[in-house]
Symmetry: C2
């Protein structure tokens, strides 16, 4: 790491062991009448105390769990979810719904007063695919099913959801719906929103279940109010989602561009063409170098897939657009590299998938590694991107004391994760020398600077990482005032005691 | 008409003239301080008293305007919208936002107590395209712009919204957003929802304006709460919408099927293929006969269009699917019929567009003509459709005293207006002998029967006609209970006096 980055390396830190963690005593007693539904075990409480943001990884590594839940409830059926909510309301305890715990925005860490007890409600036992409709290509799935679990169950029917966020292995359908997670498809069905046809949730004041319909114009969409609600209205227990046959035809190509701007021009035209590639991820020079073996060029990873027809024709149309913008398609790899995916694409894909698993090691080696993301319209993109990059580099240099350029300097790179006819969703990756022991403050400083810059330049505080507690101060400035009042009104109606995940979205 | 249908014809009724209408006296005085903002003129009040449902056309024809607004306000800028809302709240008057007045569900007719005054707020003066962003392909458009008006303004920039509901000539962008109108595209961008990137509204408690973003995952979507809100939260004043270059490549084909079920099988597979035709409208035998010169066959009207590339390839893929389901593509018309559109398609299109303009004549001739629509998942479609058709025929025979079959019987036909991977949106057209003088009661009886059948069989009370006052009793049974409470809470927060369009969506 030192060789490659100019920072990071010995001394390699050691994580604090489970037994050494100082843990606040539970402020709630496990109710005896609910046999086995609640746990106040040390491991349970600690493993539900943090999400997976850099600040969480650091704190976990150091054994810092300032806001552990007092109890963890693991209901095995919906009636037990109702029991937990009723009991918590009675006790004046906050309820934090918990899927995979992969929030990177403080979504599962209740940061409340000393005397406010917290129960984390883990959905992991509600993990089944309950019903499959092979005619309409839809499935009813419980909220606690993780990516691999639901895909395994769907595979028995030859079907797939194909929603692959980076957190795929641990995150759950319910978590995806609650946070509007972004997934596999770079165009069209970018968020889980676009794959959901009905949602069922338990609120403190009753059930919220929409009719399963392919489309409806009957009033504002009930599903769209739960999508992104981050647990403040109730606990999502299941959803009907649109699944599909596994794609039999796939093509993937890498295309080199002189710079990111030229690549962005091509991506804009492709996103406005109506060709709808499944993959359309543009990596800037640095990202291409780090993750895809690029050398001084931006790389567009372009893919098409379908279950019922060849995809050579749309790929050709998209390549033509790319060429017109100066793009140079790389030759497809020779047969035998598997899946029709060529080398560079494969390299990027495996790097992309591995990154989250390296984060503990990076903390151990004194490397700050984090991401932030947004979305912006095309006509603002260039100035926006320059401003954000500049701000990130400046803030990192200031917070890290590292040089602004050259060996040992922080790296800020960018890729588009999803694209729309009216703009891209740029995703920034930061790698910098960590201030050992002061990592959280260091990153918080940078995060505030880039968040301010994103907002000022017209972006959204999040395209698919959600709001949680970390983004809340910025989200409060972004959302419409009257809408905030309306959402508060909506929450009061179904959660009058305010027990549901207090602190996310709203103070 | 008598020859073709076996009913309708002399005596041909005459509509009641404007001067003969008995009109309730206005219960509000035009405030002098707002020069010209309000009108209590007879024509203004009468022309804002009804929508365009069959029951409205009949009542208008007969000079029955039981619920005219007391005043009509026509603000020319947003500050005047605010003035109107403030003054109405002070007066305890209800406010009915009014776009083109083309509601077919009682959306613009306030049916309140004798002593509850009503002001209709007509947006017609807010009709400009304010800003065009040719890079992101987006435009900021005022809510009162009608279809032709906004298309004319966009055409100067070589752009188009391509949202063509049947009400296109009169209906407005604001009305489309408020009611989740369905448009031109049979797949993907079926509702205006899918073309909106931000909405601005004035509520009695402040402005509601989302950031203009290509995509965002920051909390529940503020736009999606206004989409379908039917005026109960505030007055939509403008929106950013996604526009596009005018399509240069278009192909359209008609495909005959032995029956509707075979055609539906093909449409299902096409809708699940990812080919995304712009048009994919399946007409049943009767509809094909009435509107497209068909003879005993169901006809699928299939179309692809694009601005930047040929569309022969996707058309070929879709035709292949159609053939596999027994479909027989009709030969494209000879060159010179214009626009690449063949005869049968053209015939259907012009019939489709003319129908609404014939409705007064039909009332005059004693012909009941109305439509109702829904959406349902594919696996339920066949049984659902049989049940709905049967119910409609039975109810019509009972309410009309007409024979159930043969000459003089009511006609019920069906087409798909929009299709999804998980189901179609069937649209039913009814033509029957009217009970002259009792048309409203006659249709209300049929409407209740078919609505009950739709709901019982799992459909939605509306796919794109909205809820209004006519669908409300059914909508109340369809929407989730906890969601209803949440929406009430949301409304109370931004409209505490309950002045905004009372009676739609909620009692």
């Amino acid at each position: 790491m030192t060789e490659r980055l100019g920072f990071g390396g010995p001394p390699v830190g050691e994580p604090v062991g489970l037994g050494e963690v100082e843990l606040r005593r539970p402020r709630l007693k496990t109710p005896e009448s609910f046999d086995g539904l609640f746990s106040d075990g040390r491991y349970e409480r600690i493993s539900h105390a943090l999400g997976k943001a850099y600040r969480d990884v650091v704190r976990g590594f150091r054994g810092e769990f300032p806001n552990p839940p007092d109890l963890v409830a693991s209901p095995g059926e919906e009636s037990e979810v109702e029991l937990v909510l009723a009991w918590c309301e009675e006790q004046g305890a906050a309820v934090v719904p918990f899927g995979g715990g992969t929030s990177v925005v403080g979504g599962v860490e209740a940061r409340l007063d000393e005397d406010a007890p917290v129960v984390t409600l883990d959905l992991r036992r509600l993990d089944r695919v309950l019903e499959v409709d092979p005619v309409s290509l839809a499935a009813r799935i419980q909220a606690g099913a993780t990516g691999p679990s639901l895909e395994r169950q769907l595979r028995e029917h030859g079907l797939t959801l194909r929603h692959f966020p980076q957190s795929f292995e641990y995150s759950t359908l319910g978590g995806w719906v609650a946070t509007r997670a972004g997934g596999h498809f770079a165009t069209l069905e970018t968020h889980i929103d676009d794959l959901v046809s009905s949602v069922r949730a338990i609120t403190p004041r009753g059930t919220w279940e929409s009719r399963r319909l392919p489309g409806s114009g009957a009033g504002p969409s009930p599903d769209r109010m739960l999508l992104g609600s981050e647990g403040i209205l109730g606990v999502i227990t299941e959803a009907w989602v649109r699944v599909r046959e596994r794609p039999r035809f796939k093509l993937s190509r890498a295309i080199g561009f002189g710079d990111f701007t030229a690549g962005a021009g091509a991506v804009r035209e492709i996103s406005q063409s109506g060709l709808h590639p499944s993959n359309c991820r543009l990596l800037d020079q640095l990202e291409a170098e780090m993750f895809a073996g690029g050398a001084g060029e931006a790389i567009l990873v372009l893919g098409f897939e379908a279950a019922g027809h060849e995809v050579g024709w749309p790929m050709e149309q998209a390549l033509e657009i790319a060429r017109a913008h100066g793009g140079e398609p790389k030759e497809p790899a020779a047969a035998g590299t598997g899946d029709g995916v060529e080398g560079v694409v494969e390299e990027w894909r495996s790097a992309f998938l591995q990154i989250p698993y390296l984060r503990d090691s990076m903390v151990a080696c004194g490397v700050l590694s984090e991401t932030f993301e947004t979305a912006i319209t095309w006509e603002r993109f260039e100035g926006f991107h320059t401003e954000v990059m500049e701000t990130a580099r400046r803030a990192l240099a200031e917070a890290s004391g590292a040089p602004r350029e050259g060996a040992g300097s922080a790296r800020v790179s960018c890729r588009f994760t999803h694209v729309y006819p009216d703009g891209p969703a740029p995703y920034y990756t930061v790698i910098a020398p960590a201030v050992r022991g002061g990592e959280v403050e260091q990153w918080d400083e940078v995060k505030v600077a880039v968040s301010e810059a994103l907002l000022a330049a017209g972006g959204t505080i999040t395209h698919h990482h959600a709001v949680g507690r970390d983004h809340r101060p910025f989200y409060e400035r972004q959302r419409p005032g009257a809408f905030a009042a309306a959402m508060r009104g909506a929450k009061s109606a179904v959660d009058p005691s305010g027990i549901m995940n207090p602190g996310v979205l709203f103070e």
